[in-house]
């Protein structure tokens, strides 16, 4: 009989893939708001997978930053642009064939790489726990310089966004 966490894994993995599919290729709706809502659900179920992998801090950050901040930004822009249903236009046959070939090819490459890989050791009882304390210690000891560079990057992004969305005054 499979353990309870394995059942949870299959539930969360199935939900993640299902919602991800509904986000990019919903057969019922072409509305970008629907896609955004399914992306939120994908991200929340992925946070469940993170918890199963003992990455507790990242699960919280995933929900706060992605499902909270990023998706609100998406919905805000959809509202600002007043986008309706995506228009249906005639599909470009060449693009369709090459696109599906690219996706299937990538899936085959990834699958073959997985099959060829040697099986790794199982997660031990003392595997790394990603709680806030452990992650903060490693972040501020080994990764202090990248962390500071990242804060500069955020500042630059903020200045850039303000400059981009400012009305041109002439």
């Amino acid at each position: 009989m499979p353990a309870f966490t394995d059942l949870l894994f299959f539930a969360f993995a199935g939900l993640t893939l299902l919602f991800g599919f509904l986000c990019v290729a919903n057969p019922l709706s072409r509305n970008p708001v629907t896609s955004a809502m399914f992306l939120v659900l994908t991200i929340v179920s992925m946070a469940g997978l993170f918890v199963l992998l003992h990455a507790f801090f990242l699960a919280a950050v995933q929900i706060l930053v992605y499902a909270g901040a990023v998706m609100v930004l998406f919905l805000f822009v959809i509202m600002l642009l007043d986008l309706g249903e995506e228009e249906r236009r005639k599909l470009n046959r060449v693009a369709l064939v090459s696109g599906s070939a690219a996706v299937i090819g990538l899936a085959v490459v990834l699958g073959r790489a997985l099959l060829a890989a040697k099986p790794m050791a199982k997660a031990g009882a003392v595997a790394a726990d990603g709680d806030t304390g452990a992650l903060g210690r490693i972040l501020f000891q080994s990764y202090l310089l990248p962390f500071e560079i990242l804060s500069i990057l955020l500042l630059v992004a903020m200045v850039g966004v303000i400059l981009l969305s400012k009305k041109e005054s002439r």
Partner: protein, 101 residues
């Protein structure tokens, strides 16, 4: 059956393919962007899985950085889309063909 590293990597790979499908198949600029987010998330899942099964926290720090950079990228990208929409009144990828010969 026990959920091992391979299971997580399969989920991650499938999710990446779904994101790529969204980028290629959808015509709305914002939905294309959501496909990009999906691909970033798939990579994050692989990072966390490797970090867990190698007993090593560096992968999780990497994911933390990826999430931060993705947030900055989304902000800049959406500002670009809004600026583009102001100029061209469209968010449909097939209408943006100025680079076409």
């Amino acid at each position: 059956m026990q959920a091992g590293l391979n299971h997580y990597l399969i989920v991650s790979g499938l999710l990446f393919c779904l994101g790529l499908l969204g980028v290629i198949a959808r015509r709305n600029l914002l939905v294309v962007y959501m496909g990009l987010e999906l691909m970033l998330n798939a990579a994050n899942l692989a990072f966390v899985a490797f970090s867990r099964f190698n007993d090593n926290l560096n992968g999780q720090v990497m994911v933390f950085f990826v999430i931060t950079v993705a947030a900055a990228e989304v902000a800049v990208g959406l500002a670009l889309i809004v600026a583009l929409y102001r100029k061209r009144q469209t968010a449909h990828v097939e209408d943006l063909t100025s680079l076409k010969l």
